[in-house]
């Protein structure tokens, strides 16, 4: 028993953190919104690719880092904290290793950061970053297929988080490269996406908490910092509590996926539930503790909060994952009944 990430699994996150600290701030998030100059985002992404981020789960034989899912929580938490508007979970955790396994010719461009790759496993849902990605993988028949954007019809959709660059996509009836098929392969891909998104949420929650702590230490009312009031302290302590209890669940899900633990599916859902709830709580508490400033777009907080709302619902929201866990625990029968019926 040892519950702590190894140096091997944090090294990549640390390298990414160094790049992000120098080159990715709120300005880069704004650049990802429609009308922004995404060149600066793409440049950061290529630099991250240069330190190995895009190839985290790609085998060394295919020019990746050859890491396993244990590396995803620290890496994705770091990326989440930065708010960099890229399909991090979709490309790093889900797409790139599938491209490598399928021997896709586009892999080098994805690993180099010059081709932006996004993935959705949910049929008919708007696909994040599809409005600006070069490569898009979506379900087709009973498999996941990869297309270039030119091969697809894409119809941009406005999102509360404009930097997500959502689009509805229509894949052609034939063509595309088969990346994964069958329930087992798709389940592995899905769990990696859920895990990575959970870790992004932990990072976002941490970032919002950090911004809020800095604000309430500085902001004075009634002659004292507002952070000295217990009402504010207790609200932020509860956010810290939620974040600190979500993080181990995310680490455990990463370990379970890498180790092939029999409880992997439940552990993965738990991670997403706790991380989504923590990020939502962080977002609403952060906005509240900023007062009216938190309800503006001039201040940066909304950029992180909107990402958190989007990701909390993506890759299965808490209720959907709890439903799945309920089935695993034998709590869901064939017939559902309402609370009212149960009481009778």
């Amino acid at each position: 028993m040892r519950f702590a990430v190894t140096e091997r699994d944090t090294a990549l996150a640390e390298a990414a953190a160094e790049v992000l600290a120098k080159r990715a701030g709120a300005e880069q998030i704004r650049a990802g919104w429609p009308g922004g100059r995404t060149e600066s985002v793409d440049a950061v992404w290529r630099t991250l690719a240069g330190v190995g981020v895009t190839g985290a789960l790609v085998p060394e034989s295919a020019d990746g880092c050859g890491l396993d899912e244990n590396a995803l929580p620290p890496l994705m938490e770091t990326l989440g904290r930065s708010g960099l508007p890229v399909p991090a979970a979709e490309s790093v955790a889900v797409g790139a290793p599938l491209l490598a396994a399928a021997g896709a010719p586009q892999l080098p461009a994805v690993l180099g950061g010059s081709a932006l790759l996004t993935v959705s496993l949910t049929p008919d849902a708007p696909v994040p970053f599809a409005a600006r990605a070069d490569l898009i993988a979506v379900p087709r028949g009973d498999g996941l297929r990869l297309y270039t954007r030119a091969e697809m019809e894409t119809e941009p959709v406005d999102s509360i988080d404009g930097s997500r660059r959502l689009a509805r996509v229509h894949a052609p009836s034939d063509g595309g490269l088969l990346l994964a098929e069958g329930p087992d392969e798709l389940a592995v891909a899905y769990r990696r996406g859920v895990l990575a998104t959970a870790a992004l949420l932990v990072g976002l929650a941490g970032r919002m908490l950090e911004l809020t702590v800095a604000h309430v230490r500085e902001r004075h009312q009634f002659g004292v910092p507002v952070g000295s009031f217990q009402a504010v302290k207790h609200a932020l302590a509860d956010v810290e509590l939620a974040v600190r209890f979500a993080r181990p669940a995310v680490l455990a899900a990463g370990w379970a996926q890498a180790a092939g633990d029999p409880e992997t599916a439940v552990r993965t859902s738990m991670a997403k539930i706790l991380a989504s709830e923590a990020a939502r709580q962080a977002a609403r508490t952060a906005i509240q503790c900023h007062g009216a400033m938190g309800y503006t777009t001039e201040y940066d907080l909304h950029l992180y909060a909107k990402r958190a709302w989007a990701l909390a619902a993506d890759w299965g929201g808490p209720t959907e994952h709890r439903e799945f866990v309920a089935q695993r625990l034998g709590l869901a029968g064939t017939s559902d009944c309402t609370g009212e019926e149960a009481a009778m």
Binding site: F3, A4, R217, V232, D238, P248, A326, A342
Partner: protein
Amino acid sequence: MDLTWSAEEEEFRLEAREWLAANVPSNPLPSGDTREGFAAHLEWERALFEARWSVVSWPEAYGGRDASLWQWLVFEDEYHRAGAPARVTQNGIFLLAPTVFAFGTQEQQRRILPRMAAAQDLWAQGWSEPGAGSDLAGIRSRAVRDEQAGGWRLSGQKTWTTRGAFCTHLFGLFRTDPEAERHRGLTYFLVPLDAPGVTVRGFERLDGDEGFAEVFLDDVLVPDADVLGGVGEGWRVAMATTGSERGLTLRSPGRFLHTAGRLLDLARARGPGSHRDRVVQSWIEAQAYELFTLEQVTSIVEGRQVGAESSLNKLFWSQLDIALHEMAAELLGPEAEVDGPWSRGFLFSLAGPIYAGTNEIQRNIVAERLLGLPRR
């Protein structure tokens, strides 16, 4: 990262499981917070001690097994899984003992620990006073030097003392320097409750048991040998104990995992769909508490300080315990108010956010020490 138990830990688990299966009373004991229940619990405590399960993490010389923290967690898990009785000796074993190990002289360790492990001496915590609860540094009970007798004369009143009416000894804080401010000038004393000048009056808690006591001290002579840590060092010595009370020692995950398991059984028995979203959430939170604990134990085993983080444990488990029991009440419907394990557990869970430092104090600690918010 490795979330599997070693062969050695599994072997330890099996040994504990077998012994518990053969020895845990088949009918639940009456509450240990009543006089007759306490006696039944003592018998159980002595059986645990005879088989060397009462203090597994202590050195063998004092009745333990030199178990690692991991083995201790395994034992706790098995203990709760087996539905074994609540530990009426816990305030001594889990609160005082860590302090005796850290601050006691060799003579004190030899005199106090084996009798505590064997449930011969039963220890109550004497901290709160009528005017000093959350504001513990505001205590007024005092100790006056008696040079001739080679000790101190204690006077004052302690209250809300858990199981004080049934215990034999008290550990508590007393003011030895009346001039010193607040947390300065306090000293940690060990007091036999049958000493001349001590009066104990038990009173009823919210759950109906006589689990609380007031302890009145009137010029009680305590020899120097029963000062724990240095004179005037009481606050520092006592804070070491709060760390154990809030953190791992009192609330291992086993208890909540077991309650969550019972909640699942109840939900399954009530039929499909019964509040399953909230049942699952409660179950998940119990798992999250275990994972947090495993992370924390790893830190401790590897020599990192836990410190103010123990406030996170306390906030989480105390809220979780209430949530689990409230959920059970909803599943039980009209049966919820009937006296039984769930209703009793519920009443007990309500004390969680109060004892060991109220949750309001814990949130202040989290905000000030972990987040760095200003004190005033």
